[in-house]
């Protein structure tokens, strides 16, 4: 576990060989280097640069992009507290503070003995069993003061992670309501046999007739996407499953990959048959690292059963296989073109579109990128037929949808509903009472108040990728919005000016209001920022970054007004705040160390 720069090149060669020294696998190679050495040393980068023939500046650039990769020693134990609003509501801040005290260190810093670092990270997808954390990339759920204290002791005693109590790493599926998708018991290969009999063109027709739309949130018609990919010219086609489930509050793909991995792969293989692809990728978010080995085992079983590989189901020429790529902490890689950049071993920056991935995707070849749930639903379409599938849901949103419920309710977890279910119905089923607001589809989605609880979850009304975060009347919606604004600033890729700077400015403004220095002027500035972000941002992240503020302002204005100073303008410079560093250095926080503030 010790991070030893001299040792790295030796370990590196086995990693490099595992990836056939393919420059496209750079991110995977870096991730594995980090996993074995704790960080990516300058010597390691030199070795990779020479072996892969990639300039070191580009390798550093890739490593510097992803949150989970470190170019400096970052502790033998790297602790990251999930910092979604749902984790906060469950008390993650107090837990983190306690752990920092126990281990004598400050958040974001490495302890002086190089043992441990503690920091926060974006939502780890465990909102129904939080507060959660990652230790050296492994997910730990249901944190309590006692559990955090135990973890602190294990770290101090340098107990290897493999010897930690197994129940720390338990992840529950928490399925509360199932439907055709979660109840599916189809044997692996059955659906594929039906599909093989139909042939590629008919698969596309069937999926088109089913009205299936992408489950990742945008709702693009899946059949249309597959058809475009099938008809695009290219030397090779690819199928990519987007399992970079990064939208805070969403965790349904985690459950599908845990319980229905065969259905996911069946859907991908089906798609391969439909578009004529031979290579598939599952892009798995780094937070779900613990799923890698089980998923690899499923893939191997499918290869052994002739459901992957050469001449699948004894069909001459039906060749397809799936590789798993792990992300390394970058929400933006959920955007399909950024995901493809990441698959190619680059910084996860969204491409300029057009051209779209269906014609110019992975290695500039036609690529069908779909969400985990979409592939499952496509498999379901083949099993039950387009007509039966379309009979579920609403006119423009056919089928069922998995909703990830978290927040203030006694029964958080996964709920499967036909599209068109009312917000009120979901609230009732999860046992939520005194609900003030629901955040639909995560920070980039919408915040609905009680007056809108009779709206429907479907593409015609409230489109959703699945997140459903409940806030009761004890919650401060300003703090919810502020948490989301911090999230966007942290996850902006930094490519375009408006998003890179705008999200930082928005964060600064929200913090200013939180500190009690906000004025009406700041709210006007938010509106101006929103206009600039909406109209000039490169991708959806920037365009939706102001949504949390605008939506909460619309419904919960008093949460803001109560914090504002009555002045029309308050300078950003905080005289007392400027003494903060001096206070830190001297360890003082008494009245004499503060400027006397006069209330007006």
């Amino acid at each position: 576990m010790a991070a030893d720069g001299d040792r790295q090149p030796v370990d590196l060669d086995s990693i490099l060989d595992r990836h056939a020294r393919d420059p496209n696998a750079l991110l995977q190679i870096l991730r594995e280097t980090q996993e074995c050495c704790g960080y990516i040393s300058a010597a390691a980068i030199g070795h990779l640069s020479a072996t892969l023939d990639i300039p070191r500046v580009r390798i550093e650039g890739v490593a510097g992009f992803y949150s989970f990769l470190h170019l400096q020693p970052h502790g033998e134990y790297r602790v990251l507290f999930s910092d979604n609003i749902t984790d906060r509501m469950l008390g993650n801040q107090a837990l983190m503070e306690k752990m920092c005290q126990q281990l004598w260190l400050q958040p974001g810093k490495v302890s002086e003995d190089g043992l441990v670092s503690i920091n926060t990270t974006s939502c780890t997808g465990m909102c129904d069993q939080g507060p959660a954390m990652l230790v050296n990339g492994r997910a730990i759920t249901r944190l309590t003061h006692q559990r955090v204290q135990e973890i602190g002791s294990l770290i101090r005693n340098r107990t290897p992670l493999t010897d930690w109590p197994a129940d720390f790493f338990d992840v529950d599926d928490n399925i509360r309501r199932s439907g055709p998708l979660l109840d599916n018991t189809c044997a692996p290969g059955d659906i594929l046999r039906t599909a093989v009999a139909l042939g590629g063109k008919s698969i596309v027709e069937t999926v088109k007739n089913s009205g299936l739309r992408g489950r990742g949130g945008a709702g693009f018609p899946t059949g249309q996407k597959w058809e475009a990919c099938r008809n695009a010219s290219g030397a090779a086609r690819h199928v990519v499953c987007n399992a970079d489930e990064g939208e805070p509050g969403t965790f349904k793909d985690r459950v599908l990959l845990t319980r229905h991995a065969d259905l996911v792969f069946e859907g991908m293989t089906l798609c391969a048959l439909a578009v004529g692809a031979q290579q598939g990728f599952l892009y798995l978010r780094g937070e779900y690292r613990y799923l890698l080995e089980p998923l690899q085992a499923v893939l191997q079983r499918r290869r052994d059963n002739n459901l992957l590989g050469k001449n699948i189901l004894a069909q001459p020429g039906f060749d397809f296989d799936i590789a798993i790529h792990l992300g390394a902490g970058a929400y933006i890689c959920g955007e399909e073109s950024a995901l493809i950049e990441s698959l190619e071993g680059k910084r996860g920056v969204p491409r300029s579109r057009p051209p779209f991935p269906v014609t110019h995707g992975y290695k500039q070849q036609p690529t069908a990128v779909d969400n985990v749930e979409t592939f499952c639903s496509a498999a379901l379409v083949m099993q039950m037929g387009a007509e039966n599938f379309r009979a579920i849901g609403t006119a423009k949103s056919s089928g069922s949808k998995l909703i990830s419920v978290s927040g203030d309710c006694p029964r958080p977890g996964i709920y499967e509903y036909p599209f068109g279910v009312l917000v009120r119905q979901v609230l009732q089923d999860c046992g939520a009472v005194n609900t003030r607001a629901v955040q639909i589809s995560g920070p980039s989605g919408v915040c609905v108040a009680e007056s809108e609880f009779d709206r429907k979850l479907c593409f015609e009304d409230l489109p959703t990728a699945g997140a459903f975060m409940v806030f009761d009347d004890s919650r401060d919606l300003f703090e919810v919005a502020r948490n989301f604004v911090h999230f966007f600033a942290h996850e902006s890729c930094g490519f375009c000016t408006p998003c890179r700077v705008g999200t930082a400015m928005l964060k600064q403004t929200m913090d200013k209001i939180a500190a009690g220095h906000g004025t009406q002027h700041d709210l006007r500035e938010v509106e101006n920022l929103d206009h600039v972000l909406q109209t000039t941002s490169h991708c959806g992240l920037g365009r939706s970054a102001c949504n949390p503020v605008l939506h909460t302002l619309k419904h919960f204005r008093p949460a803001y007004d109560s914090r504002l100073k009555s002045l029309d303008f308050e300078p950003g410079f905080d005289l007392d705040g400027a003494l903060d560093r001096a206070r830190q250095m001297t360890g003082r926080d008494d009245a004499g160390a503060h400027l006397k503030t006069e209330e007006t």
Binding site: R58, G61, F65, P350, R351, P355, V532
Partner: protein, 250 residues
């Protein structure tokens, strides 16, 4: 005979493969820009060239020209957005024009004047960006970097050296150089490199040539950038070059 699109009421001809920006500049129409350079493949990160096309806003440097497009550029709404973007770039870095060697030759400063950016608009972030004076002939002052990536593109595509690159993400994104030490002196950069000539602001400077032309007599001191950009522009863009380095481009 080529097709045309409309730009602020004027008819602009274009060749297949040209973007709106390329066609506009070739035809003598100016659209404000920073990260676009006629000799490089456009990548559309600064967003200064945002225009309204058939009611939607988009960066004109990466938008493929199409017959019949109705492009609005020199309108209050677009210039207002550009003003805010310039304010953002000023607030993001540390720009002290009076003491900057590039003052008068700086595109960011010139656009600030041209777009009438009279106020800061935002609270400055005052980032900590130490400069790199390690190289005997070249100074890097990262305080002024606007992350346009022109030096990255020039060094990779023209010089074949990859001296520059980007690391970090979001507001911490920053320019880095190709050396284990992280210092410019340990790279193979040379004064004659294309990368030395493309910085629109004052990051990459030759040492010992400071203020050879007095401030007040420099390029954009003479005429506004909108009047001069066209002089440089109608060079044919190198659309054949592929770039797998710079961000956001396929």
């Amino acid at each position: 005979m080529s097709d045309t699109f409309q730009l602020d009421g004027a008819s602009v001809p274009f060749e297949p493969g040209q973007t709106v920006m390329q066609a506009a500049l070739t035809a003598g129409h100016y659209i404000p820009h920073l990260c676009y350079h006629p000799e490089f493949k456009p990548h559309g990160s600064c967003k200064l060239c945002t225009v309204k096309v058939n009611g939607h806003t988009t960066a004109s440097c990466t938008l493929p020209a199409e017959a019949g497009l109705n492009v609005e550029s020199d309108i209050d709404e677009m210039n207002g957005l550009r003003r805010t973007l310039v304010q953002m770039l000023f607030a993001e870095g540390n720009h002290f024009c009076p003491s900057c060697e590039k003052s008068g030759n700086c595109m960011l400063q010139a656009l600030g004047y041209d777009l009438e950016v009279h106020t800061a608009g935002f609270r400055h972030l005052y980032p900590d960006r130490p400069l790199d004076a390690s190289h005997p002939d070249i100074l890097l002052d990262f305080n002024r970097c606007i992350l346009c990536e022109l030096c990255v593109r020039a060094s990779s595509e023209v010089d074949g050296k990859n001296v520059f690159g980007l690391s970090g993400r979001g507001i911490t994104k920053h320019l880095i150089v190709n050396a284990e030490s992280g210092l410019l002196k340990d790279t193979d950069i040379a004064l004659a490199d294309k990368a030395m000539q493309v910085c629109p602001v004052g990051v990459i400077l030759s040492k010992r040539v400071g203020f050879s032309v007095p401030i007040g007599q420099r390029k954009y001191d003479q005429r506004p950038i909108s009047a001069q950009a066209l002089d440089d522009a109608p060079r044919q863009a190198d659309t054949g070059g592929s770039c797998d380095v710079c961000e956001g481009t396929p």
